[in-house]
Symmetry: C2
Subunit: 217 residues, 2 copies
């Protein structure tokens, strides 16, 4: 199909399609003359993936570039390691400022749960930093429930694993890992809010005083 048809099929403007090609997110079309290229269903699919990672996943163009580069890797392998620093957590890691007690807390959590995570890995550093920040902000109560949050996260990870194992080939598994991880975070976040607002008893009744009606934005 021509670029105009690709634009219609994907709902992405031709200017944006050209931008994604320049930025290395989308492969070029097959040139059939000096100023005409042909695109395929693979381009439509890739555009959907890019839009989902950008809009629902909140990833940056440069993160998506490295993800699609990994997906396009010729030998069909995909290193889950490239997904580790993804998701909402995108802050700079500062292991030097980590509270040593928090490091011990997270290390013993990992031991208790039988997680073999490398203590110098980005996931470990992210958990340590987030706990430190929660405490710094006076929200130790959330940090104190680490085990409960870890148990919920472990259940999610187990489901992820089952889903990924059920994929037929390494290609669909690689894309499943990317999409499932990034959109899965968004889905969990949305479900958490749905579960909270949806409880028959309002979760935090003290918030809703007689003066607050009509302030819902």
């Amino acid at each position: 199909m021509r670029i105009a048809e690709l634009s219609r099929a994907s709902g992405v403007s031709t200017a944006t399609i050209k931008y994604y090609i320049r930025e290395g997110l989308l492969p070029s079309g097959l040139l059939i003359s000096s100023n005409q290229a042909r695109y395929t269903e693979d381009h439509v699919h890739r555009l959907r993936l890019i839009r989902a990672l950008l809009e629902q996943g909140g990833l940056t163009v440069s993160r998506i570039r490295s993800i699609v580069a990994a997906l396009d890797d010729a030998d069909g392998t995909f290193d889950p390691g490239t997904m580790t620093a993804d998701g909402p957590y995108a802050g700079p890691l500062s292991p030097l400022t980590a509270d040593p007690r928090t490091v011990v807390t997270v290390r013993s959590l990992a031991e208790r749960r039988g997680w073999n995570a490398p203590v110098d890995g980005p996931e470990f550093a992210a958990v340590v930093e987030l706990l430190d920040i929660l405490c710094e902000l006076g929200q130790e109560r959330f940090a104190a429930r680490l085990d409960d949050y870890a148990e919920a996260a472990e259940r999610v990870a187990a489901v992820d694993e089952e889903v990924l194992r059920s994929c037929d080939d390494s290609r669909s598994r690689a894309e499943g890992l990317v999409v499932g991880t990034v959109l899965g975070d968004s889905l969990l976040s949305a479900l958490r809010r749905l579960a909270r607002t949806g409880r028959s008893t309002p979760p935090v009744p003290a918030f809703v005083t007689s003066g607050s009606s009509g302030t819902r934005s």
Copy 2:
């Protein structure tokens, strides 16, 4: 303290502090002369909150502006509804294009779990849209495990609720709701990755073939 001391105490540059004041994220200091203002520990705390929401939470300046405005609301009430559309999910909601079958799926999920969520609310629309996008991207397998993800999310919501109930006053509860919701999403996301990478058995062994060693970025 002066702005230079506030900058040292918070690790935020004076130019950025002034920017936050102009943008309405941080209250002005108390003017003691035409070109000098004094700041308090409350400013240090607020700066920490802003940085955490920006860097670890990935929120935009305009989202943070509306959150701190709600926190500063004179009557001390805070509507949890203002937190509903937050988190990694920030894409445009398009209820008109929602697959009616997905709407039915999510509605029956909410019924089964006893969630009283309004079907025209943003959380409901977010779940529907994310499921539709997962299917559009060929990841129906993740969408099919909705019940498992919902159960994990419900456990998290229950812990959230217990933590918030234990707060002493509405002010700390309001800030707990903001921080716990936004950083809690990041924490869950980091724990999910930690649980996944940390399992003794590699989660997706087929990814890691002999050719992939050394490609970890």
